[in-house]
């Protein structure tokens, strides 16, 4: 390691070039090849895989994923916004403790929490026992393997991704601005709609992105908690690689997903550029 400069530059290039750049190009290459009979891919260039993306069956899965991801995002936003706002405005000592409480579910492996939700909502699970015991319901609810269970699982796993960016923005709110608004005669709702929400917009958009994109691709949540009615884009792509062994088609779906994700992130960048440049990710 005589010349550290050369070493450090080569290492940066080597790792990122080899494990990010090159395989991404390989993915794009795979997406225009054909499915092989004996091997995984056959070198026969075609755009058929991309045309197949627009097959109604797959468009349907995509639309369903969009719908579920949208609902998950909206519900998470409505749960997380008041929560983050209240925490951001508590005294610092208590605030740090509450934040730490937030971090623990965030860092717990989601397979553990998804499994826990499964044992809570299953037909003979905790939820049904409790509701039956309290006399609220007389028949057990069949939540597990329904879309509702998938919604619960996705919202649970993604809620911290909404809370943290919202909190990061709301924490920066200047008390003096709110006091000035109050002095000038704004009521609570006016302060919320005309000051707090507009000023926390970058946090809202970031949180929505962090929830919306994974909601479409966390394939293990629908796999564990859902039935056929909650087969999402993530499950479709995963199946191409592990069950159907149609790698070129799976690769074309992945490229399409990446383009879709990039478009959403670009939209965020673009909208944030108009508000303030240095507050980007």
């Amino acid at each position: 390691m005589k010349n550290f400069r050369t070493f450090s530059i080569s290492l940066s290039w080597l790792w990122l070039g080899f494990f990010v750049l090159a395989p991404t190009l390989l993915l794009i290459l795979t997406s225009v090849l054909s499915k092989g009979d004996t091997s995984l891919v056959r070198v026969d260039f075609t755009f058929h895989n991309y045309i197949e993306n627009f097959n109604w069956v797959y468009v349907h899965v995509f639309l369903r994923s969009l719908k579920m991801a949208f609902i998950v995002t909206v519900v998470s936003l409505f749960i997380a916004f008041p929560f983050a706002l209240i925490i951001a405005r508590t005294p610092p000592r208590l605030r740090n403790f509450l934040l730490m409480l937030n971090v623990i579910p965030f860092w717990t492996n989601s397979i553990i929490t998804t499994y826990a939700i499964m044992i809570i909502v299953k037909t003979k699970g905790l939820l049904n026992s409790a509701l039956l015991g309290l006399g609220i319901i007389h028949q057990p609810l069949h939540i597990l393997y329904s879309p509702l269970a998938v919604y619960i699982g996705l919202i649970y796993n993604l809620l911290p991704f909404m809370i943290l960016p919202l909190y990061a923005r709301l924490e920066k709110l200047d008390d003096r601005v709110l006091e000035a608004a109050q002095d000038l005669g704004a009521n609570r709702w006016q302060i919320l709609y005309r000051i707090v929400i507009p000023m926390s917009m970058p946090g809202i958009v970031a949180g929505c992105l962090f929830v919306f994109l994974p909601a479409m691709t966390l394939f293990y949540v629908p796999n564990i908690l859902g039935g056929a009615k909650s087969y999402l884009l993530g499950n479709l792509i995963q199946d191409q690689f592990l069950t159907n062994q149609n790698w070129p088609f799976g690769a074309s779906l992945s490229v399409a997903l990446t383009i879709f994700a990039a478009a959403l992130i670009w939209l965020y960048w673009y909208s944030a550029k108009n508000t303030n440049k240095d507050e980007l990710l």
Binding site: L27, L40, P82, T108, T113, I120, S129, S254, A262
Partner: protein, 253 residues
């Protein structure tokens, strides 16, 4: 108003903690399937410690997270130094690749690496998992170290260079010691990311080296056993300790 706020916050925390609490409580329940309380037992912990498969997978996960965090932090410190100190061709590309790696969906990263490993004919197992985990931890570790390194006084490096220090000396004797807290945060972040990952591991793991999340995943298909609760409870304890430790690091800073 205050009471409403307190109730709301408590309700959200209840939602976040209920599943974890249920796991912990029922890991001590003296019944296999029932979700009612049948008395306290540590039976499932005994079962867990005799189930070599599940326990070994947990050990594998911890080993993998430890190695991935160490190697990712080491590489990240070198990459961050290159980005901070040197001008070179394609610096922007390196920068952009790091951002791409952060915003790319996990699912796509998993697939991209699967395609890479299979075209190299690398058998899926420990090596592929380790390389994949280092790759997913790397951008977060680089950003953590880089953002802290930009706060350092650049006069330090210039005066060291004037006094005849080589690039290697500057890295080893100035940067690394000054960046100790950043290296620790980067290590903890990388460790947590590796332990937390499911999707990337799902694509690049093989039967020769099973890790905990995938083991639990395959067990949920067959049915539920309380020894998973016991294992998850132990893992939760570990996460409590890591979060506590990172809080201490933050306080010390």
């Amino acid at each position: 108003m205050k009471a409403i706020k307190a109730t709301y916050v408590s309700l959200v925390f209840a939602f976040l903690y209920l599943p974890l609490l249920v796991l912990a409580i029922f890991s001590f329940n003296n019944a296999r399937y029932a979700m009612t309380w049948h008395g306290f037992t540590t039976h499932w912990y005994h079962v867990l410690f005799n189930d070599s498969l599940l326990l070994r997978s947990a050990g594998h996960s911890l080993l993998l997270a430890f190695l991935a965090a160490c190697i990712a932090t080491a590489i990240a410190s070198v990459v961050a130094t290159a980005l901070l100190q040197y001008r070179f061709k394609g610096k922007r590309i390196i920068h952009n690749l790091i951002i791409v790696l952060i915003v790319m969906p996990d699912l796509v990263i998993g697939i991209v690496l699967l395609i890479l490993f299979s075209s190299l004919h690398l058998p899926l197992g420990f090596t592929s998992l380790l390389l994949a985990h280092i790759t997913i931890c790397l951008p977060f570790a680089v950003l953590t170290i880089y953002s802290r390194a930009t706060d350092l006084d650049s006069n330090l490096f210039e005066s060291a260079r004037d006094l005849g220090a080589s690039d290697t000396t500057i890295y080893l004797k100035i940067l690394l010691p000054l960046l100790k807290p950043a290296l620790l945060s980067a290590w903890l972040l990388a460790f947590a990311i590796s332990l937390d990952d499911i999707i990337v591991s799902f694509f690049v793991s093989g039967p020769s080296f099973s890790i905990m999340p995938l083991q639990i995943y395959s067990m949920t298909k067959v049915g539920i056993t309380p020894e998973i609760n016991a294992l998850c409870t132990l893992m939760l304890g570990l996460i409590f300790m890591i979060v506590g430790a990172s809080q201490l690091v933050r306080k010390a800073k």
